[in-house]
Symmetry: C2
Subunit: 343 residues, 2 copies
């Protein structure tokens, strides 16, 4: 049964205990495929794990360990580090200071372990922004905490879904701001990082395609000139520098072409461009990787889902995929920390 030597040891945080995090973590740990690929230790409190196991009506042993590697690593056992934030059960689905503080404390402790090399990477369940605020946690989200404590280079989100890999040039801005936020400088700064981060995943000489902005890529200026004026020249400059880049490729083709193996990754220009592709292809199979840290962190791409927390109906497929991706790529990301970007 045991296969400790070869399977990577991944730290899991349950996120805000009032959300679906503990539930999807417990469910994911019952997945045989996960156990085959990954060894894990959960950062939480016995109280919140106990609450989730009881709510799900499961018989699972909660095995508190002193150190991540001390786990029993057996089916039906949750090896966990007692973070000591919650003393008892929490009200599901409620914004609360204690939920925010607990979720932050789990993450903080897991980051310690990842920085110390006690776990090779992290897979995280969702935090709740409002609970973090209520708890006076001085960070707005996971990324802010991770950037503050574990930055190695510029952090970048990478979506991985069924072999399709998607980076984002812009993300949380309004639609009307997108076109002007796309600059040649921005593209030329992003491309070496995309290339580097794909190499950190183990891809040799990766080819990155830059998505177009306008329908049909603008059709020679008929539907917009951003490709002619900005995106095309930036791609040309990147090629001149010897980088492996393609594009701009019409956005309704580029994701399918990457999926079919023509490119190793896509640089999407805005949030929905890449999100629509990933989540329509496989909503629950979309895993978010945070690159540019001192270790790999993967996460589900949904929130605490307070509306369904505590009901046992949360879909754990995203957490399963996040764990599998952490297992697949964490060692490679660490080994590639000293790789240099293309220049």
């Amino acid at each position: 049964m045991s296969n400790n030597g070869s399977r990577p040891l991944i730290g899991i945080t349950v996120g805000d205990p009032a959300g679906v995090g503990p539930e999807i973590v417990i469910k994911a740990l019952q997945d045989g495929g996960v156990r085959e690929q990954v060894r894990s230790v959960v950062y939480a409190d016995r109280a919140c794990l106990q609450q989730a196991v009881e709510m799900l009506g499961l018989e699972m042993e909660l095995n508190e360990v002193a150190s991540p590697a001390d786990g029993k690593d057996e089916a039906g056992v949750v090896d966990f580090i007692e973070v000591g934030s919650l003393a008892g059960p929490i009200a599901y689905g409620q914004i609360s200071a204690e939920g925010g503080q607990a979720g932050y404390a789990y993450l903080d402790r897991a980051i310690d372990a990842a920085l110390a090399g006690e776990v090779v990477g992290l897979a995280t369940a969702p935090l709740n922004k409002e609970s973090l605020q209520a708890g006076k946690v001085p960070f707005i989200d996971h990324t802010a905490v991770l950037k503050s404590r574990a930055a190695h280079r510029e952090a970048m989100t990478l979506f991985v879904v069924r072999g399709l890999r998607i980076f984002f040039l812009t993300r949380h801005i309004s639609f009307r701001e997108i076109a002007d936020a796309i600059t040649g400088e921005g593209i030329l700064e992003a491309l070496p990082l995309c290339e580097l981060y794909l190499r950190q995943l183990g891809l040799d000489e990766p080819l990155v395609a830059v998505a177009a902005l306008n329908p049909h890529g603008g059709e020679q200026g008929l539907f917009g000139t951003d490709e002619m004026d900005v995106i095309g020249p930036a791609v040309t400059e990147a090629k001149t520098r010897g980088w492996k880049v393609a594009g701009p490729v019409p956005a309704d083709s580029v994701f399918n072409q990457c999926y079919e193996g023509r490119y190793d990754g896509v640089l999407s220009l805005y949030h929905d461009q890449g999100h629509i592709a990933a989540k329509t292809l496989d909503f629950h199979g979309t895993v978010s990787l945070t690159m540019g840290l001192k270790f790999l962190r993967t996460s589900v791409d949904h929130g605490t889902a307070f509306d369904i927390a505590g009901q046992g109906i949360a879909d754990a497929r995203g957490m399963v995929e996040a764990l599998l991706a952490a297992g697949q790529y964490s060692a490679s990301v660490r080994e590639g920390l000293d790789l240099a970007p293309v220049v």
Copy 2:
């Protein structure tokens, strides 16, 4: 073998004979699934069909018929109407006046047949805009011809891919024009047509979801106010009028939710929003339906692909899906011509 009574008779146009159209039509007619569902007659010339069959190295009988219903309807036989436009082979992959004129002549004759009820619907292979221009054809594309000759209501494109159905509020405009082109009036004009056209496909009391424009649907104004100012109020007004409408739904969720059956169709706000969803989900399985005509017309959603024409390597899956969709929906669309839109 014969099943003439129940299978719908679909007219097929091969499009520009210098493109991949004849090839994908011939290939699609060899598909057993197509033959099981659909009876067909091809609008073309013997010359261009012969050229395609020889290029593909196939043994198929080209059976010229006087009237669409006269076909042999047998495996290995292409029942076709001789349009008499091309006398001999054409150079593949070249823009030409004769190619443009021939493609237009096939379409024109097929429209005659559809208007006369000799075929129940049409499935069309691609035309080439530049060849149409070279041939002085007074239309820029399929839609212009169809609107001119067979308009019943306002024509609208509907993408169908694996049970996901997508309409478009705006389409061939630049990205920078999109936000201002989205108006409450536009949405309130489009929704009854979406609803009507879904009923024409046989869906009872269809529920249409309107996609959002900004990431996360704007997140209460944090990333844009179009949902609060324009899209949301239009959806509310539609509901007040008693229409079955949902939204605005964040664009990275709405297509997956429709695919899973929560909605019967999605009104996407711009070209790439719906195109990325459809073509990433299933590039070759995306069929374009032209609604609002006196009959159903389906088509592949790609062009003449002059770069690979005449090589035998064109992928016919799109044509197969277009034929299957024409077979599935043509009768229903005709029966629903007199349905009234919701008011």
